[in-house]
Amino acid sequence: MTGPMTGRLERSATYGILALFAAISLTPVIGVLATAFGRQSSLDTGFSLPDGLNWSNFADAWTRGHFGTYLTNSVLVAAVVVTATAVLAVLAAYAFGVMRFPGSNLLFYLFVLGLTLPQEALVVPLYFDLRYWQLTDTYWALILPQTAQSLAFGVFWMRTYFRGSSRSVIEAARIDGASSWTTLWRVLVPMGRPALSTMVVIVFMWTWNEFLMALVMVSDEAHRTVPLGLAFFQGQHSSDTALLAAASVLIALPVVVVYVALQRRFIEGMLSGAVKE
């Protein structure tokens, strides 16, 4: 329909626009990377170009910025939140997906409610509750609320999987004498590894990046997670851009690595949140 000339022109224009968007997406990322490898003495609060690969900023962030401790805390919190969410969400979603019991719809919608609920509507009483139970400044103050919030997505997402799972498989397992418990763990969970891994990477990312809960629940340095560490570090050393950038890279790297490897799972999971029944 279009001639070869206009076609070619349009193609180049489209690739040009696409490249522009990609460049805009990457500019802040490349700026941070360049600054992280740059020289520390630079007084510029903007980005700077490195004169070689300076790994010293990372070492400095690790020791002087205490990011070693913060990373350990983040790994611990994320591991527990992800595991707990996975187990609890699978159990609940299994019931919502393949069983029928009075009130199941109402209970399920209670979980879906959490998908759009802002943390700001919970964080104030949560702080006073956890302080009353003397749990602030402990890992529990980070783990328990975040697990509860992740359950909204976990239950919603895994229920979709169980709904779509084959009835014949479930019934075949039943005929073989498997209980509902055995059917779940021996048959459905192994088959649902793709759905499960999507949920795991999404919950991992949310927990790793979580800021507000950590800011409110933790005031001592020993329990700081990496995003909180970066925020405090920026507050104290806002002119130390090279160190800030190095710390930013340390925070972003684990999630970005998983994202590049499992890109489709991330996109699929993150776009599902708005899809209602």
Partner: protein, 337 residues
Amino acid sequence: MSAPPTATDAATGAAAGAGPDRDGGRAGLPVRLLRHTAGRYRRRAPGQPRAVGYLYVLPALALYAVFLLVPLGQTVWLSLLHWDGLTAATWAGTDNYRALLTDPSLRAPFLHALSLLVFYAALPVALGLMLAAALSRFRVRGMTFFRTVLFLPQVLAMVVVGVAWRSILAPDGLLNDTLRAVGLGSLTRSWLGDYTWALPAVGTIGTWVETGLCVVLFLAGVQRIPRELYEAVRIDGAGPLREFFAVTLPALRAETAVALTLTIVAGLRNFDLIYITTSGGPGNATSVPAYEVYHRAFETNEVGSAAAMGVGLTVLIFALTVSVARLVEGRSEGRSR
């Protein structure tokens, strides 16, 4: 709800369940019986004992109730009190809510949030639609790479995004350096410290974060549009513009709703970014409800007011997401259930 299960339900359910379907089940049962029961079966859950369902839900529900549902109720309760977090609280009734509507310093955050939605939701959706339309006209090579790059801002911690953009918007940051380099030095300013420009500057960060999400979402939708639709309008002599309004835009209605919902929710839950970049300043030029909840509850000890703000934010999010859904459902036939 359906009637209680009986032995026959379980039996037919089992028979149908064992039949051949897309998973290639077992053979050996009369096909006619299968056909007969399959339709019935699909409407029924398998004959699991019902009470077991509660046991499976219980652990998740208990945690969810204690750390999400109860606090939500407590927020509503706190919003009806005057409380500084230390001394005894006094009953406030609807005082805190009335203040949200009448006190300009409490109304401002909501107005800021709504103008930020232009940057967080409207712009990314418009840009995403335009780019997806351009990309729909032929097969683009290297799409996986572009998709990965455009979606990248979505997976970065907002704290990191904030730190990176502070370096861009700083007085001697990348933006001002670029402006000076092209001879527009008179336009340079401290973007995040400027009363007029701080809000659009923060909004621009939001546009940067959300545009990729919209592009990726719309690209997936565009690929599902039948080629014939495009060929049909092209035979009619339609240019790219008419092609967009006649084919692409109507076909992407569902994706538009999803994109708007996700970006609106993200735009209203933007505590991290505000905290890192401006802390609501200068003055209260960039204060938003998400930030004010934290600020009032934990910095100025106005817990009741903070809770009312939290409830207000929740209501706003639900109202906007429901109206997006309504807007889309109302005009599409047969798509919604």
